[in-house]
Symmetry: C2
Subunit: 491 residues, 2 copies
């Protein structure tokens, strides 16, 4: 057996075990009885110990040194395994254990502080988390030219730095603020209203997921508190949630997760359980979920079909026609919560978090000053003040569990979605005609062929460049948003 074969065989088994760990997390969010939580924590801990030992196994280092790739696929596979191995090996085991222990504790403290609207109860443990994440980031960055924050970004998005993101986001912000001001000063049409039975919402969500290409023979749709997609290859499961008075919550969460799931389901089967057999980065993953959800799902054409599908099922939904329905789907509204934000304001939420977390990790902002910084920035970008901590600093789980460097991938995904939509519309004709019939397949087939099937073959940015035929920039997203929301909110 060659070193490459030995490396791939070991890696394949590790990835199979990683899939199991992900399936356990799915189970915990969907099926697990409440009383099993402590036992499950111990089971997952045992699994993590096995995975960590395999990922840092010195044999992997030896195989990596000796492996000689003969194909592009082999070279890409070695590249991915090497990065994972070096990343895992750079962090001392004690630090990894301390972080795992701290963040499992701090998540509970955060949840309780959010419930009680009590920032002071959260800050001490957040301070500990930031300190350990800085330590981790420094261990990973080592003597490289990248900053510690860049090292954290790399866990989610390889090949982009904090400085590059800063430049991109700073360029977008004025336009987004202007769009937000225009929309909030303008006349919004009515929201939808009516009676939306849970089982009918769920049945429509299932239909819509399948229309967007979700293969139910290799996945399933369940309910969970937070929608997510889980797994790769032939077992990719998604969840959604249901609000009885807001069917868009269930529907657009489902379309979003369908985007993630289709990316996983449509990767070349030859890559299954290899380093190339899953979405290449969080940013590229989010580009899929966002283009499904926004450019396709919230576009005028598909809204025409959806208006009919909803009135068929729910009767009167409080809007007169498909145009009014489209306006209701895309209403820009005041709000504090990132996950409920519209396409315009969403990226402002991300930029706020990006700047603050980059300053925290870089040592330019202390946890003590974080709330004031959040509130000042929110008022500047959104035009109104945060009313309570659960609508401000305490709203997201991410920092409590040590996810620093993750937030920017959301907006990067939107930027990538903008690029992909521009390429898609320029290359595929009849897109809107099909969408108006409830058929996104011309779009999703293009995405499959040009992006999804390639999995992790290319680096994230190269994946987008390959699909679009040009390097990604924020211009297409900004142009799309300006055109869409200027039309929705005319002077």
């Amino acid at each position: 057996m060659t070193a490459y074969d030995a490396l791939m065989s070991h890696d394949r088994q590790t990835r199979a075990l990683g899939q199991i760990s992900g399936r356990l997390s799915w189970d915990q969010e969907t099926m697990m009885p409440s009383g099993a939580v402590d036992q499950r924590a111990e089971e997952q801990g045992a699994m993590e110990a096995v995975l960590h030992a395999r990922r840092t196994d010195p044999q992997v280092g030896g195989w990596l040194d000796a492996a000689e790739p003969e194909t592009d696929v082999a070279a890409a596979s070695i590249r991915e395994i090497r990065r994972g191995f070096e990343r895992a090996s750079k962090v001392p085991a004690e630090l990894a254990t301390a972080l795992a222990r701290l963040t499992s504790k701090s998540q509970g403290i955060w949840a309780e502080a959010r419930r009680a609207n009590d920032v002071a109860a959260f800050l001490p443990v957040l301070e500990e988390v930031v300190a350990l994440k800085r330590e981790e980031a420094q261990a990973v960055a080592g003597n490289s030219v990248n900053s510690p924050y860049d090292a954290l970004i790399e866990d989610y998005e390889v090949g982009i730095t904090g400085a590059e993101l800063q430049t991109m986001f700073d360029g977008m912000r004025p336009g987004l603020v202007a769009l937000r001001e225009r929309a909030l000063a303008g006349q919004a049409g009515p929201a939808i209203s009516g009676s939306f039975a849970c089982d009918v919402q769920m049945s429509l969500a299932n239909e819509v997921a399948e229309r967007f290409g979700y293969d139910k023979t290799r996945g399933r749709l369940d309910l969970a508190v937070h929608p997510f997609s889980s797994g790769s290859g032939d077992d990719v499961r998604i969840t959604t949630r249901i609000c009885e008075d807001d069917p868009f919550n269930c529907l657009y969460s489902t379309i979003h997760e369908t985007g993630h799931a289709c990316y996983e389901q449509r990767i070349d089967p030859a890559y299954r359980l290899t380093p190339l057999g899953h979405g290449v980065s969080m940013g590229v993953h989010e580009s899929q979920s966002r283009i499904y959800e926004n450019q396709l799902g919230r576009g005028r054409a598909f809204c025409g079909w959806l208006f009919g599908a909803m009135t068929d099922r729910f009767g009167d939904i409080g809007v007169a026609d498909a145009d009014a329905f489209y306006a209701a789907v895309n209403r820009v509204h005041r709000g504090y919560i990132r996950t409920e934000a519209d396409e315009v304001q969403y990226n402002l939420h991300i930029m706020l978090r990006f700047d603050l977390e980059r300053a925290l990790v870089g040592g330019d902002l202390t946890v003590k000053d974080l709330e004031a910084a959040w509130n000042d920035r929110f008022e500047a970008d959104f035009g109104y003040a945060v009313d309570k901590p659960s609508n401000g600093l305490l709203q997201d789980v991410h920092w409590s569990v040590g996810l620093f460097g993750y937030f920017p991938t959301y907006s990067l995904g939107n930027v990538y979605a903008g690029c992909l939509y521009k390429a898609l519309t320029s290359q595929v004709s009849g897109l809107d005609a099909a969408l108006a019939q409830g058929d996104p397949s011309p779009a999703t087939t293009w995405l499959q062929t040009n992006l999804q099937t390639h999995g992790g073959l290319r680096l994230p940015k190269d994946t987008i460049t390959h699909a679009c035929g040009e390097e990604p920039t924020s211009a297409p997203l900004m142009a799309y948003l300006e055109e869409k929301f200027t039309a929705l909110y005319p002077d």
Copy 2:
């Protein structure tokens, strides 16, 4: 850290991983999308490799040699770990791998042969399975006084030999045959009939499970093709199945699995994820499922409550009163299939399989002669001839997957249930009065205190002796069956 502490810590992590593997099997039978089957096989294979490496880790042998137990619990834990370690270490890795590969293939061949009623299509692979199992049995038995078949029994039931089982079963057989003849010659009352909506069946099954003590905060009830119980400690899940024209299928499968699940749920929490934290053997496990299902669930007292519960929910069910309902629940009927057999004929099914598989492993019967031997014995014991292979030799999955030595534990469980029921009724008053109100808790509390809570502390037979105050024999079961079915089928 002492050798004992190191041993227990390693073992605990292995057991946590074992729980995960069991949870995956549950998922496969209940939730997994059909297209995920190949990927799941690879995931489970990776998990099995991890578990096998841990179970045969030479460090375990060192710790076992050095460990000094200071308590009964420690001594019992070491005893259990030692047996598992020695068992796993005796079988050469290549043989274990060959068996795993063969039985995963042979199960498919069996399923197809059963569907086609084609014995000849199954026998060649069965011959291979028997050969490998004999090899495995010889490796495990080694130079011990036990026969190879005894070594296989030990995988499911420690402390009993094929010869002992033979003596016990041969003693029971004439009485069972006589009871079967009496019942089939007698007058059976009507079966129930009516309309049994699936959701109502499932809701009643949930209620009955909880009445029998199943803790739904640490478990859940789902549908599966074959009912089973899965997991230990705080996450013990059960499944049932629904036939729209036979509600007893769902109900009594649920009560049966509830017996298994309550055994697991009610073990002393201090034993969780230790060698004592699960049911001690298949026979003792089956004693719990059987006493819940038969002595309690099919007894006259509980049938009185159940008749009311069913007529409340389903209206007319085709029987006039609780006595007629009780007779319908306990109807003895001609049939070929073990899993559908009544309390009288069930054990005859087991004894047939036990004698044949013991002869196969012992070399006294060839696979070539197996079908004739099955059919001759069936006609002798049941009084009518097998009509087709899917009702005969091909009906059970067990042999196709290498489960030899497993069948006798079903009847042993019935024997143990008989002993427990005798002790229970002699020690607890008011049992039937409570059961007549749909309340099995006086019985299940006694089982919890005297048996379930102790988990694997004592060897299987000692577990029963401890609970009953005397050594188990088949006499109580035979007396119970004779009394019950003589009354149901009077001269």
